[in-house]
Symmetry: C2
Subunit: 242 residues, 2 copies
Amino acid sequence: MSSEKPSLEVCLSPALLHLYNTAGSVVVIIDIFRATSTITAALHNGAASVIPVASVQDCIAIGNSLPNSLTAGERDGKIAPGLQHGNSPLEYPTDFVQGKTLVLTTTNGTRLLHMVKDAAQIVIGSFLNLSVVCDYLLAQNKNVLLGCASWKDKYNLEDTLFAGAVVSRVGHAFEVNCDAARGARHLFNSTGGSNFINFLRDSSHYRRLSAYGLEEDMEYCVTPDKHPVLPLLQGDRIVAVR
Amino acid sequence: MSSEKPSLEVCLSPALLHLYNTAGSVVVIIDIFRATSTITAALHNGAASVIPVASVQDCIAIGNSLPNSLTAGERDGKIAPGLQHGNSPLEYPTDFVQGKTLVLTTTNGTRLLHMVKDAAQIVIGSFLNLSVVCDYLLAQNKNVLLGCASWKDKYNLEDTLFAGAVVSRVGHAFEVNCDAARGARHLFNSTGGSNFINFLRDSSHYRRLSAYGLEEDMEYCVTPDKHPVLPLLQGDRIVAVR
């Protein structure tokens, strides 16, 4: 084993993904509001797997073909026509989701996940499983890319803040020569390490989602370690590794 | 005149420029290390104009065709073969540059400048003319995009820090609903508003340029208001407006 540390980088937008070499790396997909938070919560609450799909149409088709599945996804803050459920981590308690397959369509998070082709492993990251993700990254001894799903390719504060939390926790074990990682860490440090929802109140996503009455959702999504589970992509499904 | 404030946004990389509507806007080009710093210094020291060009070949050709011109540009921290001078703001004192046309080739800054097609005005921004740029933006009552040249399309700390300084100074007069602008402002605030060079010592560009012995250059480049001049693009030339 080389004595050199593996690298840790942050990609701030799917539109910048081509700048990074993800071959053989661990890539963490980050879509705090709310895809990766919902996936984390559903899997921790016992969902058999989550199948992320790009379109509502695919979601319906896959849902129809799979027994014991739920279709879910939102467009503009409402359950998309033809689907059964929304994109809130609060919608998937254990007694509802246990043993079921969640077929989930989201825009930003799913797109980024499908763009990464050659990673050694794709991990779903959120505040809800922050420590589990950090422990996993520390154990792998592989290069890491933290991939922010962003919002329609624009930098967003909540995904960057989570990336900064990870850099702050695990950076010591990596070579961090990436200004996006440094910037994310500065952002995280400027919060004092807590009360993230207060910090995020002045953000584009908070403004947009609070117009749909989703304040409670967002507060839930930035609660560290509420759902300690490791969601990994295996084939076309995300499954929980405990 | 509408009572609504114009918008202020930050574009963190040329690769994200297509996400922003620059029609009728004021676009500030930011390439702190070192293109926009050098342009600002040369113009304040009396250069007649600066012609930014993409390639060394174009630089030589235009230099040959223009009387009283200087060709300048670096590749990998050294004067590019065929050119006369480098890309340091310290190379262009008044007694050298007065009345001359500087034909300058840089990679990141020039590229971004040439990518912006429909702006009302393109301004060259650097710490060296921070206050002049801010005063100009406040006076225009137009939408503003702060465009970071970045480094090969990757986010960099020094350009974002400058963008944050501008957002911090003029944000009150604009509608700032842009997470990149908020993030830049948080970054700026985390410096305490001074000693930027100390903050930037742990950055990719500082590491790269200090390997070429350019520490003094970089310290100069982050000195606020040393060259109070307003460089505007007019046709294919950047000229000083005092």
